[in-house]
Symmetry: C2
Subunit: 198 residues, 2 copies
């Protein structure tokens, strides 16, 4: 969205330091020059990027996960998602995460767009994929990973978004895509891809 008319908005990086590096989280503290010439500090999580998958089942349902999220202290309903490995192609990551977490391979995939998750304090981008022609093989959860899958008609998912049963931002963002795809208002460019062998 930036263009040459945005000089009155743009911040120019001046300095960048590591703020901390945990086992999972990595953060930086940058100094920027504001449009008025003054300096300000920006602290943010450095994230490798991620994918989220909206899997269409044969019977008009979609596949979701129920997973306990410690920062929220609740079991959350969400679409399958996961972080990119270093250098990993987002589509390959989407295929890998879908298989590992749900046990499904899909032979048709469509890229739907991307979202930025927490723009004031994280670099995270999540690439949104739709998957269809699903075949169940076997889940391959890590030994410290615990999640249920659940099948849901699209209308029930939208109702769950309305009533607050679904509050995960990436899943709500995917629901916007899903509702418009299902209504035929938005289109996808489906591609055939051989099943992941991950």
């Amino acid at each position: 969205m930036s263009d040459t008319n945005d000089d009155h908005l743009i911040e120019v990086p001046i300095d960048s330091q590591e703020l901390f590096e945990g086992k999972f989280l990595k953060a930086r503290k940058d100094t920027v020059r504001l449009p008025n010439g003054e300096h300000a500090e920006r602290e943010y999580i450095v994230h490798p990027g991620a994918v989220v998958v909206i899997p269409f089942l044969e019977d008009g349902k979609v596949l979701l996960e129920r997973q306990y999220r410690h920062p929220i202290g609740r079991v959350m309903m969400e679409f399958p998602a996961g972080k990119l490995d270093p250098g990993e192609d987002p589509l390959v990551c989407a295929q890998r995460e879908l298989l590992e977490e749900t046990g499904y391979n899909a032979t048709e995939w469509a890229k739907a767009g991307a979202l930025h998750l927490a723009i004031s304090y994280s670099t995270e981008i999540i690439h949104i994929y739709f998957a269809r022609s699903l075949v169940y093989t076997r889940r391959q959860l890590d030994k410290d990973e615990f999640l249920d899958t659940c099948e849901m008609p699209i209308d029930d998912l939208l109702e769950a978004c309305r009533t607050g049963k679904v509050t995960d931002a990436k899943t709500l963002s995917c629901a916007l895509w899903l509702q418009n795809i299902a209504a035929g208002a938005w289109n996808l460019d489906w591609q055939r891809h051989s099943a992941s062998t991950a």
Copy 2:
């Protein structure tokens, strides 16, 4: 979404330590007991919570902001939003942020729900409000705050979500609400509130 049948998913907190405290970001590292009895570490940002406002203008448009977001390195299009002050009521925060950032007071407000922004590494909850009957007074930006407001027909905003001009997750989540409210599929409980004097 947690109930007594979720024991096979739930993590039990065992220990909690400060991971770091920056000027803006605060993070903790907790130890949890997994459903299989093993221990794992969870690192996450501790966030005070926030609000986002979807402001309806008189002519069927909505009001958005364009703001440079350093972690993304781009000017982002997003609905007005801001962090709760300690102990602040979310509606009061929504009124304050709308006035400060856009210069508008609204006399009718509706709570639409909430979203959790980054469930794997932040406690952040964002309360979603709709505002209407807007009257322009005067913006009250902090001296280090730089943003433009822009008015947009709802259909143009949805098109911007489809084409990737809007990628902010809270704004995409709000667009799901907005589309369904505008279509009459979902309803709001509008309340009159005197204009903020913040």
